[in-house]
Subunit: 695 residues, 2 copies
């Protein structure tokens, strides 16, 4: 026998289960600490997905017990109130790798591969020899099914034992209507800190506010994250693949397996974004008869069809126009919830969030959401904290190798006011940055689903979102700096001028002169101060805007404020009236403000909860700069209107209010003539509130 035959003799087929048993670290079972988090994660992801699909509000309980601390044996027990699994599905779902319902579905879901929970069963069996106990109750049956599931790794088949049926009651003796309970033992370590079960569940509750999560740790301590909203995430619909994102091999297979009688039926029925007209045009561009059977296409014809789909074959020089895929397959977290989650998690001064409109990469709809919080008690000399999420699942490991991290690192943060060595890498500063990718096909770097693989388009989209957020941070920091400078000037003037006046008067034996007019002149600024506070009694968010005219002329302004209209907030106690300028933008035309005068604008926001809205952006229309507010950029309003249009076109309903009134507000003018003869103006009493304390 030659050497080639000798070497070939050793070759054999390996089962997928043997493969993953040897490479269990691909599934997230590398260290003992991570293995436990992975197990909890797979179970929780499954529960949340099942509840979402069944349109049920999830109530989860996760219990971790130390069975043998010396040998690092841990028991995990997770329970949900989801739809449960029919008895005959249990063994396949838990005991067979690559078995599941979500692999071929094009829609946003946490699980996609049919590997996760079987991996947990496999790891438990490998490390402790114990099967996983599953109890499942479905609504249409009176009792729950119970079974112990193991895995025959040589064959990728479940082994089952002790199967039966039993009555399942909760601790109060009430019958459980439906739900699933998993109990397994594994070699693992429970630990606290940044990478812990507790942290994973906490982050999960932030991005899944519709879930009620209870965690009982090995010490018996109960941690409870209650349900914050009764509103289930938007229902996601499965979509067909989009012609732009298809590969030749796939198209060949689809044609081969098709039973359709003609091309047009095939194209309209199997792809999203293909209308009756574009189906015909695709055939025309690829020179295929519309009546031909897809199954009978020759390889060259399939290639032509693909080129027509990807716009390389054209009609009269123009690519065939296709609709974008529908985006109701996505369910973003939404700005308001991100804001809420962030402000609850980390104490801070400033929050900005952003949900981009959905895009399409390689035929897969996706959407990027970002959030940034700044200030508060965070350390200024450390790298910013990165919070990564994919399809509402927190990512806890492999931060360095993740596309979302790279998107943050690819931004020049120095231009936005954060420290960053060499203009790249993670910035430093008292900030945390959140990035969420929602997609029908999240491309992870491995089965453990902890880091996103490189993808130019998604990277660019994330980078854009982050930069937009960065510009917001820069504005905030500039505003803060300007306010601080004005405050300093104001304090100096108010301290020193009176002292000089008094001293001079003493020396000259004259009366102390009246100074407020001079102070106004020296300040020469219009200042606004905004406070957004939660009112415990009324359960509303109160907004107060004060405008001070420290100039020697009368001033006239329109003040505009943002409010979270699209999240259902309603303006209340708005005694000054005004009108709506765009979704989420209200405007008040103020009466002329004489030198030294001030005016206060009060309103409340109803329909929000504490922490939902902590900062109000204030804009103005008028010639003299207002320190503490931003000059209204009319393009900004236009952008908001464009966004609304785009979202509507994308089929996403965001506005719960009426259409924007198109009435124009008359642009106010300053009273340029100096009508006021150097009036004696008192420094307003309110000066203490101006800078939150004063001198």
């Amino acid at each position: 026998m030659g050497i080639a035959q000798k070497l070939a003799a050793g070759q054999k087929q390996v089962a997928i289960s043997e493969f993953f048993e040897k490479n269990k670290h691909f599934l997230g079972f590398d260290s003992l600490a991570r293995s436990l988090i992975t197990a909890v994660k797979e179970s929780v992801d499954n529960s949340l997905d099942a509840c979402e699909e069944a349109r049920m509000l999830p109530t989860l309980k996760i219990q971790i017990n130390k069975v043998d601390s010396k040998k690092d044996i841990i028991e995990m027990k997770t329970t949900d109130n989801g739809p449960g699994l029919p008895q005959k599905s249990v063994e396949k779902v838990f005991g067979q790798l690559l078995f599941g319902s979500r692999f071929h579905a094009i829609r946003q879901s946490r699980g996609q591969q049919g590997i996760g929970i079987t991996g947990v069963v496999m790891y438990s069996q490998l490390t402790t020899g114990s099967p996983t106990h599953v109890r499942s109750k479905i609504a249409t049956e009176p009792t729950a099914s119970v079974v112990d599931i193991g895995l025959d790794t040589r064959k990728n088949k479940a082994t089952k034992s002790n199967s039966g049926r039993e009555i399942w009651e909760d601790e109060n003796g009430e019958l459980i209507e439906h739900g699933l309970e998993i109990t397994c033992r594994m070699k693992a370590k429970y630990q606290r800190g940044r990478q812990s079960v507790w942290q994973y569940l906490r982050m999960t509750s932030i991005v899944n506010p519709h879930a009620d999560i209870t965690f009982i740790d090995p010490e018996g301590e109960v941690h409870h994250w209650p349900r914050v909203t009764e509103r289930l995430p938007t229902k996601v619909e499965s979509i067909k693949p989009h012609p732009r994102g298809i590969h030749l091999g796939q198209l060949q297979r689809m044609c081969n397996e098709s039973k359709d009688s003609r091309m047009t039926v095939f194209l309209r029925g199997n792809f999203s974004g293909v209308s009756s007209r574009s189906a015909k045009e695709l055939c025309e561009a690829s020179e295929i008869d519309v009546k031909v059977k897809p199954k009978s296409l020759k390889p060259d014809q399939v290639r032509s069809l693909l080129e027509a789909m990807q716009g390389e074959k054209t009609i009269a020089g123009k690519p065939v126009k296709l609709l974008n895929p529908p985006t109701n397959c996505l369910s973003p977290i939404e700005e308001m919830l991100i804001k809420k989650g962030l402000s609850k998690t980390i104490d801070s001064r400033y929050i900005i969030t952003m949900t981009r409109t959905p895009s399409v990469a390689n035929g897969n709809p996706y959407q990027v959401e970002v959030g940034l919080i700044f200030g508060g008690s965070m350390a200024a000399d450390k790298h910013v904290e990165v919070l990564r999420f994919a399809n509402r699942v927190p990512l806890m490991y492999q931060q360095g190798g993740c596309l979302l991290t790279k998107a943050i690192e690819a931004v020049n943060w120095r231009q936005y006011g954060l420290e960053q060595a060499g203009g790249k890498g993670l910035p430093k500063g008292p900030a945390a940055i959140l990035v969420h990718l929602a997609s029908t096909n999240v491309q992870f770097t491995s089965e453990a689903k902890e880091a996103l693989a490189d993808n130019g388009e998604v990277m660019e989209e994330a980078r854009k979102a982050i930069m937009e957020m960065g510009r917001g941070l820069k504005k905030h920091l500039q505003k803060k700096k300007k306010m601080a400078k004005t405050q300093e000037k104001f304090e100096l003037i108010n301290d020193i001028l009176p002292a000089i006046a008094e001293k001079s008067a003493q020396i000259l034996d004259r009366p102390i002169p009246e100074l407020s007019g001079s102070i106004t002149k020296i300040m020469s600024a219009v200042i606004s101060e905004t406070q957004t506070t939660w009112n415990k009694e009324t359960k509303m968010t109160d907004v107060e805007i004060i405008l001070f005219n420290y100039t020697s002329r009368a001033r006239s302004y329109t003040i505009l404020c943002t409010w979270p209209e699209k999240f259902g907030a309603i303006l209340a106690n708005n005694e000054m009236g005004g009108r709506k300028e765009a979704t989420g933008v209200w405007a008040w035309k103020l009466a002329t403000l004489a030198p030294g005068e001030r005016i206060t604008l009060n309103y409340s926001l109803d329909g929000l909860e504490k922490g939902d809205w902590t900062e109000t952006d204030v804009f103005y229309r008028g010639t003299q700069e207002v320190i503490g507010a931003t000059k209204m950029d009319e393009k900004f309003l236009e952008e908001i209107r464009q966004q609304e249009k785009a979202l509507k076109e994308a089929g996403i309903e965001i506005s719960e209010t009426n259409d924007i009134e198109s009435l124009e507000i008359e642009e106010p003018q300053d009273i340029e003539d100096n009508q006021f003869e150097q009036p004696t103006v008192e420094v307003p009493d309110g000066q203490q509130t101006l800078f939150g304390g004063g001198n």
Copy 2:
């Protein structure tokens, strides 16, 4: 039908090939540029593995052609002179995922999973619809077999077409004796730079100096990395699993599937490190009869056996003693080759390398090798370059998520003289750091094999190696600093003193005094200078060491030098004699050196190539410090001897020379009495060479 049944109805089994087609990025097919590198890598890895197993010196040719630049279609053709594949193996190796010979073998190899090359076939088919053309010639058959291989992803089976046999000749019309040629077309992008096919092959040639690699790029340019050594890497042997690294599930399966008639036979035959005696002891500790059949063990007995294997069940309070697994399953690159590779790749001033002795983690033997180069033309204000290798394969992607990178980041580099913000993370400076892990079971984070997964033990071992290397760097930098200071002092004295003397003499109208004695007194130092240079004519490495006595006393020294004895270097032209103190350490006892005198030591190293040896470590024995050399730490010699012993015990043959002579060299003493009356000493002519130029 209830909701649970409805949801379950959508569940189905997915084939491994469908799974990897959808998740092709797990295999390294994410971006178009990386896909090409992945394809080249999988093919080259297979060729090198096959040649190594067949004990043949590999000659590889890789050709990349642009088929259609607009559509990014590229053709890859790779040819090797390996053993080839028998006709009937071809379709399984290329058309079936998880088929291969290395999955169950415990030994160091590049490929392990049986996925790689089938992934290339799959990706080609998916993106271009084309099958992969394979030509294979084995030595025992007169003609080569040819076939076009595709993949039925629904079934994980090969589809083949155009199979046949043909005469395979090289370009000179000579019959090819054996070899394999792969031609495939795929959607991919050819690019240059740090992550490129060229760079991958270059790095591959560094760590596989026994390979001859030719690369023809799309422009037709030929890049050739010739074979540097005819010595094949150490032959690696497959070993049995070690009891310490076994999981309960595995042990259960092994017992179940065993046909052995008694426990002792089973234990000795299926595990490494188990002697006849320890097999009996394992049975004793786990209270299992030695005569029992492994197949008949009860679950509790298997558990007991595992606990005995892991030292938890003991005999008389002591765990059963097991031998370490043999390490002939590993094939490290070895220090000299790392040094050579590094110095060829990057121009630099200082190189240090280190091969740790093999260790065992979870029963898997592994070995860490590290290298560091410093200085030269590398940028001082950038992060150091990281060169990662696993089982002689360069890792090009996912640097941030790799254990090897994390090991570098976990070291406090500031203590070793490199800049590092916050004392962690990648250091900055003009340096490149190489880390190689050789292991029977390299745990990657994904199938693409680009980053190593976390593992506490391996991490610690790598960190230790890196820190050891860091200490070497520190010494080097301190030495450099001291030399620079001495130089500065020397130049100052030689500049200023004569000028002052001349001026004073002029003013006082006296003759200029003789200064060399005073200069010697002020310098008050013994200085050594070492030069290691390649002699083009003699093809030897010349070493010159000069010792200057700038003190007012006579000095007596033994000078010791390192040389790469274990890589076959031989001392030549060594006219001063001396003797060997340990492997790779030579010693010369010098004649007493009078004040102001100098002595030159010359020798050459034969058997090396250019770039092999660029720096000689010089040590001394003697009381007065020698600037430019290191006081001999006798512990260091002892360590070398210990290392030799350990390596020998581990079965690794490193020394090709005789045993160390145990003769002791008499410790030299300074002549303490001031025998010399303030001698008139001339500053030696050689002072210009002392600091490579001087003033």
